[in-house]
Symmetry: C2
C-alpha cells in the first residue's frame, strides 16, 4: 500500500480546499450561532471534514477559531513609506477592519475568556503577533524628527492595540467619531521626540 511508504510528516501535499472549507464553516458558525457553538464537532459536520483531519491542521479548537476569525490579519500589508501619519492610518484602518467583522467580534471576547482561564498554550495565541514587524518597520521608516528612537516599539504597539481594542469593544470609546484619526493622532504625538 502506497500509504505505508508515505511517512505522515511528508504525506501528500495538503489540499488547501479542505483548509478553506473548515475556515469557512468556522466563520459561519461564529456568525450564526456564536462562540460556544463553534465546536470541532459542529465545524466538522458543517464542513464535511472529519474531526481528525481538522486536528491535523489546527492543534486546538481555539487555534482554529483564532485563525478563522482573524484571518484578515494575513492580508494586512502596510508598506512603510516614511510618512508616519499615512502609514499608521492605513495600519489602524486595516486592523479595525479585521476586528470589525462579525466573526471577529464574536470570537475575540470568547478567545479572551479562554486565554484568561489559561486554556491555550502560548504559541497559538494572538495571530496578530505576526503583524508586529510591519508596525516596527513603519516606525523605523519614519524620519528621526518624528520618532524618538529611545522608545520601546513593543510598548507603543501594545498601546496602539489597546486603543484599537477599546474602540472596538468598549461602548463609550466605540461611540467616538473618526476613530482612525483619533488613534493615529495620539500615537503620532506620543512617539515624537521630546524637546
Amino acid at each position: 500500500m502506497s500509504v505505508v511508504t508515505e511517512t505522515p510528516r511528508r504525506g501528500r501535499p495538503r489540499d488547501p480546499a479542505i483548509d478553506a472549507k473548515v475556515l469557512e464553516a468556522t466563520v459561519e458558525l461564529l456568525e450564526e450561532e456564536g462562540f460556544a457553538s463553534a465546536t470541532i464537532q459542529a465545524i466538522s459536520q458543517r464542513s464535511g471534514v472529519p474531526a481528525p483531519a481538522i486536528y491535523r491542521r489546527w492543534p486546538t479548537r481555539l487555534a482554529l477559531i483564532e485563525h478563522a476569525a482573524l484571518r484578515g490579519f494575513a492580508h494586512i500589508e502596510v508598506r512603510a513609506t516614511g510618512d508616519l501619519g499615512r502609514d499608521l492610518r492605513r495600519f489602524v484602518r486595516a486592523y479595525l477592519d479585521v476586528y470589525g467583522t462579525p466573526a471577529a467580534q464574536t470570537a475575540i471576547p470568547g478567545l479572551m475568556a479562554s486565554y484568561q482561564r489559561g486554556a491555550v498554550p502560548a504559541p497559538a495565541r494572538w495571530i496578530h503577533i505576526s503583524v508586529r514587524p510591519q508596525f516596527y518597520e513603519i516606525l523605523r521608516a519614519a524620519t528621526p524628527e518624528h520618532v524618538d528612537p529611545s522608545l520601546d516599539p513593543d510598548e507603543i504597539f501594545d498601546l496602539l492595540l489597546g486603543a484599537i481594542l477599546a474602540h472596538t469593544f468598549v461602548p463609550t470609546a466605540a461611540g467616538r467619531a473618526r476613530p482612525v484619526d483619533r488613534i493615529v493622532d495620539l500615537v503620532v504625538r506620543l512617539v515624537r521626540p521630546t524637546a
Copy 2:
C-alpha cells in the same frame, strides 16, 4: 393592609444586606462556574433572594454581573495632588486591581461578548464611566507644563483604558514587567505640551 398605602416607589428602605448577598453570590458563581452559569436563577438559588427581588435591584442579569464583578470601581478614590505621575500611578494601579480579580477576569470577556451582540441598553454599560471624573481631575490638577490643555481628556482616558485592557487581556502585553510604570510613563509623555 399597610402594603397598599405604600407606593412601590417609596417602599420600605432597601435592606442593604440583601444587595450584599446577591452581589456575593454573583461573584462566587463567576469565580467558580464562569459567566454562562451566573444566571439570575442560579444567583437566586445561591443567595436565597427570590428572582423578583433581584430584578427590583438590577434591571438585567448583565447589569448585576457588571456591578458584582467591577464593584471595586466604587472604591477607587484617587485624589488629585498635582503630581501627575504619582496620581496616574495610583489610578492605574487601582484599575488593574479591579480588573485583576478572578470575577472581573471572567466577567469582562462575557460582558464584552454581550455588548457586542447589542444585549444591553446604554445606561447600564461600563460602570467605570463613573471613574472618568477622577481622571479628568488628575489632569486638571497637574501643572500646565505637564499637561497640554488642548488635548481631549476623553481620548486620553480611552487610550489609558485600552492600555489597561490590553495589559489585562492580551497575553503578549500582559507578559510585560512593571505594567503600571509602562502605562503611566507613556501617558505622561503623551499629555506633555509639545514644544
